[in-house]
């Protein structure tokens, strides 16, 4: 029964802060952090459980049958995901206690975090698709509120709006997909879904791709990836929790849920291939863009896009244990990416909100603990042997090698790029000389901020090992280590990327690669965002203006206006006979109409 507490505690915390504790920011922060910690403990107590029988109640029903249920499913996959959500969540709360200590809207911030924890828990534990959609929208709301936390800043307000609207485009397809799957299987409950025989591949493939639209929006895959880099306008701990470790991975989790429920064998190969290539292209594109970003958070954001691309690619491979591998990468990525984001938060905090890496430099000496933990995160992200990232990346390489050689090459290239841009980041930020006053004055952050970094660094190393992963991520199929093609590819990619980063960026004062059109294209996000802005500006706005004009002119002026003019002429005729004022007309009309009814019925 205490699965319900996982859902209720953060909700109660958010409600209590909003309704009563807003004035007491410190208490609000403690309550929110306490509720996160309590859910983490509850999750740890649930480890090893596998409650297939869902606990549910009817939320909207008709004709005695439930239409929409609220119910929980607490299986291995859900508990594993909950561990990521509450584990990273708790550490982010703790980090925020210091990071947001002097924020004037601290209570609102923690209220938002609790609302997020509630919504995310709902997605993870949902036993049916509509409930998942409900919480899917609510994480969208929490993300909107937290990106726009500093709403008086126009760029933050715009980023919040963009995130919500772009996600809704994905939700359009997602809702259609849910409806189609409901019509096909006759149920919304994950555990009861069975695909009937005799359906055309077209219908099945279309259904899968419609559902996948939801993941494209939430997990920021191309072409809807544009909101995630902008979302970095939110406070950095929010970026760590929502826009790196958990919410953006919800799309992957949702697709994994679908595959676990109905299997991927039934879906035609063109549909799963589409998913794999969307992930692959996102992964490559984002890695290329990351090489030329100068904002530390933007580099990490593109890296998140790229890693999400890996997970989506793995879902689409639809071969062997691909779904589990995708979830496994989600799990390892959550720790090391949250570590990197919180590390960047510590750096930004120490450098007085400077985010440009070229104005940092030499921070290794100033902030050694942050630097060491950041180095651990960087190694894990690069997939360095003995770290968690190595294990999950190894499996991705292994699986793609045996199913699709083109994807294998793509994954390897992205792995090399990853080491390259992370090497660049690390060298520019931590090595060399201080390149600005802010970095010269930087000092190690408070212990309360270091604690989450150290704990996450421990997870970044050990979460992939069998003795940790088996109890925490039981659906993970451990592949014994073999020194074969995937291993050598992986090592080669790391060496190549690291060497490149060292050659180009060691002891440099500015980016030596930035002055050519290719780099400029990467720096400008391949001009995709600009293109969308133009499309929205001239497309939607012009369309809306044209329609508005036509609406006023044709529909209003000619078609119906003509009708109105006839009636007006009649009315004036009527008016001349009577007093001519509007009041009398209305009154007479009312009475007249009643009279007409009466007479017509009576005379007949």
């Amino acid at each position: 029964m205490h699965a319900w507490l996982l859902l209720l505690l953060p909700l109660l915390s958010a409600a209590a802060i909003h309704l009563g504790l807003k004035k007491n920011a410190h208490l609000s922060a403690l309550i929110s952090t306490g509720s996160a910690l309590a859910t983490l403990i509850l999750t740890i107590l649930l480890l090893g459980n596998d409650i297939k029988e869902p606990l549910q109640f009817a939320w909207a029903s008709f004709g005695g049958e439930p239409l929409i249920n609220i119910g929980l499913v607490v299986d291995k996959m859900a508990i594993n995901m909950m561990l990521v959500v509450t584990g990273v969540g708790t550490l982010v709360h703790v980090f925020s206690l210091a990071y947001m200590a002097s924020d004037e809207a601290k209570a609102r911030y923690f209220c938002g975090l609790s609302l997020f924890m509630f919504s995310m828990t709902g997605i993870v534990l949902a036993d049916n698709f509509l409930m998942m959609f409900i919480f899917w929208e609510l994480v969208g709301l929490s993300s909107y509120l937290l990106i726009g936390h500093w709403f008086t800043k126009a760029s933050a307000a715009d980023a919040a709006k963009k995130a919500f609207c772009v996600n809704r485009i994905g939700d359009w397809g997602f809702m259609v997909g849910i409806l189609m799957l409901w019509a096909i299987t006759g149920t919304l409950t994950f555990g009861e879904m069975n695909l009937p025989e005799g359906l055309t591949a077209g219908i099945l493939g279309a259904t899968l791709l419609c559902i996948f639209c939801g993941a494209v929006g939430k997990s920021a895959q191309a072409p809807l990836h544009v909101w995630l880099p902008d979302a970095m306008e939110g406070p950095t701990p929010v970026s760590a929790l929502i826009h790196a470790a958990t919410m953006v991975a919800a799309g992957v989790y949702m697709m994994a849920r679908v595959f676990v429920s109905v299997g991927f064998e039934a879906f035609p190969q063109w549909s799963t291939d589409t998913i794999a290539w969307v992930g692959g292209i996102t992964s490559l594109m984002a890695a290329l863009m990351a090489t030329q970003q100068n904002d530390i958070k933007k580099i990490l954001a593109y890296s998140t896009l790229s890693q999400l691309g890996y997970m989506v690619l793995m879902l689409g491979v639809a071969h062997g244990h691909s779904t589990e591998i995708s979830m496994f990468h989600l799990y390892t990525h959550a720790w090391f990416k949250a570590l990197l984001f919180l590390g960047s938060g510590a750096i930004i905090y120490a450098c007085h909100h400077e985010q440009n890496i070229w104005k940092m430099g030499g921070l290794f000496k100033k902030m050694p603990i942050t630097a060491i933990t950041f180095a651990v995160g960087t190694l894990a992200l690069a997939g360095f042997p003995m770290t968690s990232g190595f294990f999950s990346k190894e499996q991705i390489l292994h699986e793609t090698l045996h199913s699709n050689i083109y994807l294998f090459v793509l994954v390897a290239v992205v792995a090399a790029m990853t080491t390259f841009y992370m090497g660049r980041l690390f060298i520019v930020v931590f090595l060399g000389e201080n390149r600005s006053k802010h970095s010269k004055d930087a000092a190690e952050v408070k212990p309360i901020m270091l604690l989450p970094l150290v704990l996450l660094a421990v997870m970044a190393v050990f979460s992939g090992y069998k003795f940790v992963a088996e109890p925490l991520a039981p659906q993970f199929h451990h592949v014994p280590f073999e020194a074969k093609t995937p291993f050598f590819t992986s090592i080669g990619a790391i060496l190549l990327g690291a060497a490149g980063a060292f050659v180009f960026y060691f002891n440099k004062k500015s980016d030596p690669l930035s002055n050519n059109p290719v780099s400029k294209a990467f720096a400008n996000r391949l001009y995709i965002d600009k293109g969308y802005d133009q499309l929205v500006k001239y497309g939607i706005n012009v369309k809306a203006a044209v329609i508005d004009f036509l609406d006023g002119f044709i529909i209003n002026g000619l078609i119906v206006g003509g009708l109105a003019r006839c009636s007006a002429a009649l009315g004036q005729l009527f008016n001349r006979a009577q007093s001519g004022s509007l009041q009398t007309y209305s009154l007479l009309m009312g009475v007249g109409v009643l009279l007409v009814i009466y007479l017509t019925v009576f005379v007949k």
Partner: protein, 504 residues
């Protein structure tokens, strides 16, 4: 059978009206009457779910004319009537409290509010076609008068436009209703007699067309919608709240009641209806995006959202009236409730924004959340409700409407008109997110500007009407079964009821 409950709901505002005209304190009388009415309605609804023969609860019948039989008949035949009764007694409380009455016009202002609520309530409670129609006409008169006399901007033009459009709609509707009554050869104008009748398929197409156009004009069905935006933008706040929130639902209510009589006719016009409702969602949605003023944006958004209720009606028509288990009916009614409450709240808050900043032009505003966080929170909540955020009432209705669109789709078959319409209609969630978040962004976010930096937040007396409506959105949103369950008479209640009614 005579029972006082429902007639009391009409008598209270009537007595209050007389008291106001006689010179009593208008605002207080109107407030007491509307609070009292809501209390009675709430208790009645709770009792309605418990009794053995709910359709007889509070039923009132007084034969006004013997031949043809016209009866002043009130009753709560089904959940739809109960939910509309709740909506129609809830919104007037907020309407009385919201908006600022010009000096010296209290009697006109508050008696109009009472008269509109009285008319709307009469229409939804009537179980006789004559009074159903007549009460709605009664409510329209003060609506026109208030826009014409106390509206803002180009009020005369707006008043003329709504008067002419709605008079046109009413007359088309009247023709349809008369034809319908003639075709069913009903012995009286009571709904139960009319609904027991049969309509020849020859008459059905014509009657269905007249009903769709007549009711459609009243609900601003595309392309008969262009009266709505100027009228709501110009109308005094309580009138906009009452018409957009409550009275406009008359047309939808009428269609939901009467379409089962002309199923073949409605089937004939199904594709046309689908095209028109997509006009509401896409065309008017685009028009909404292009609005520069908050009041006309809200007015257009209200027109747009009618498309979703029409989608539920289309799903019902496509399924045929025999499908008693169709979720489209409760879906439509829950959405009507959610929309009514949320649009009334939005109009009330838009009035507050104008009175505090002096402008509703979105480009002139900004940063209001800094100086008025309470106002920003309530507006955000109402806006999120209207764009279908789960946890607030509208979502439950919208989601059920979408489900109803796919309810009868056989996955082996190609998509039908209703499924295609549903898919396109869901794109409306993108459109509504764009215009609502744009409004929030432009009015409340970014750095405060001259008009907003010293604006005051809502005070307690301004917050109360908003909180009442917000609470309704939250209650239904968090547990929609509170309304959906009204459509599921429990087994215990159904069984004895049947035997009681049939044993004379």
């Amino acid at each position: 059978m005579i029972d006082q409950t429902l007639i009391l709901l009409l008598a209270i505002p009537l007595v209050a009206l007389v008291a106001i005209i006689a010179g009593g304190p208008a605002r207080n009388i109107a407030l007491m009457a509307s609070v009292g009415n809501f209390g009675i309605a709430l208790v009645t609804s709770i009792v309605w779910t418990q009794v053995a023969a709910p359709e007889q609860l509070g039923a009132f019948e007084l034969i006004v004319l013997a031949k043809p039989q016209i009866t002043l008949a009130l009753g709560l035949p089904d959940a739809m009537a109960v939910i509309m009764m709740l909506l129609t007694t809830l919104v007037p409380i907020a309407a009385v409290l919201a908006g600022k009455c010009p000096e010296g016009r209290e009697r006109l202002w508050f008696s109009s509010v009472l008269l509109i609520s009285l008319g709307a309530l009469g229409a939804f409670l009537s179980t006789d076609l004559f009074f159903f129609y007549a009460f709605h006409e009664l409510a329209l008169i003060p609506t026109f008068l208030m826009i014409g006399m106390l509206g803002k901007g180009d009020r005369k033009a707006a008043a003329w436009k709504i008067t002419i459009y709605l008079a046109f709609g009413s007359i088309v509707l009247l023709a349809g209703l008369l034809w319908l009554v003639a075709a069913t050869e009903s012995p009286s104008l009571l709904f139960k007699d009319i609904l027991a009748g049969q309509v020849d398929s020859g008459d059905q197409i014509g009657i269905a067309a007249l009903l769709l156009v007549g009711f459609g004009v009243l609900v601003s069905l595309f392309p008969f919608h262009s009266w709505a935006a100027p009228a709501y933008a110009s109308a005094p706040t309580p009138v906009a709240m009452l018409h957009a929130g409550v009275l406009k639902k008359f047309g939808l209510y009428g269609l939901l009641r009467l379409f089962p009589l002309v199923p073949e006719g409605m089937q004939h016009w199904l594709v046309a209806l689908v095209v028109l409702l997509l006009g509401n969602i896409l065309w008017v949605g685009m028009v909404t995006i292009n609005q520069k003023r908050l009041d006309s944006m809200l007015a257009n958004s209200s027109v747009m959202h009618m498309g979703y209720v029409f989608l539920a009606i289309a799903a019902l028509i496509a399924a045929g009236s025999t499908d008693a288990n169709n979720i489209a009916l409760p879906a439509a009614v829950v959405l009507m409730f959610g929309h009514g409450v949320s649009i009334a709240l939005l109009f009330a808050l838009s009035d507050r924004i104008e009175s505090k900043t002096g402008s509703l032009r979105m480009e002139e505003l900004g940063g209001l959340a800094k100086s008025a966080p309470g106002l920003a929170f309530l507006f955000g909540l109402a806006g999120m409700a209207s764009i279908g955020l789960p946890g607030l009432a509208n979502f439950a209705g919208e989601a059920a409407v979408f489900l109803s669109g796919f309810k009868n789709w056989d996955a082996g078959q190609p998509l039908g008109a209703v499924q295609i319409a549903t898919i396109i209609a869901i794109f409306g969630v993108v459109i509504s997110a764009i215009y609502m978040l744009r409004a929030v962004r432009n009015i409340f976010h970014a750095a405060p500007v001259k008009l907003t930096e010293s604006a005051e937040d809502l005070n307690m007396s301004e917050k109360i009407p908003a909180l009442i409506l917000a609470a309704a959105l939250l209650v239904v949103g968090l547990y929609p079964n509170i309304l959906f369950n009204l459509f599921n008479p429990t087994a215990e209640a159904v069984e004895p009821e049947v035997s009681l009614v049939e044993a004379p």
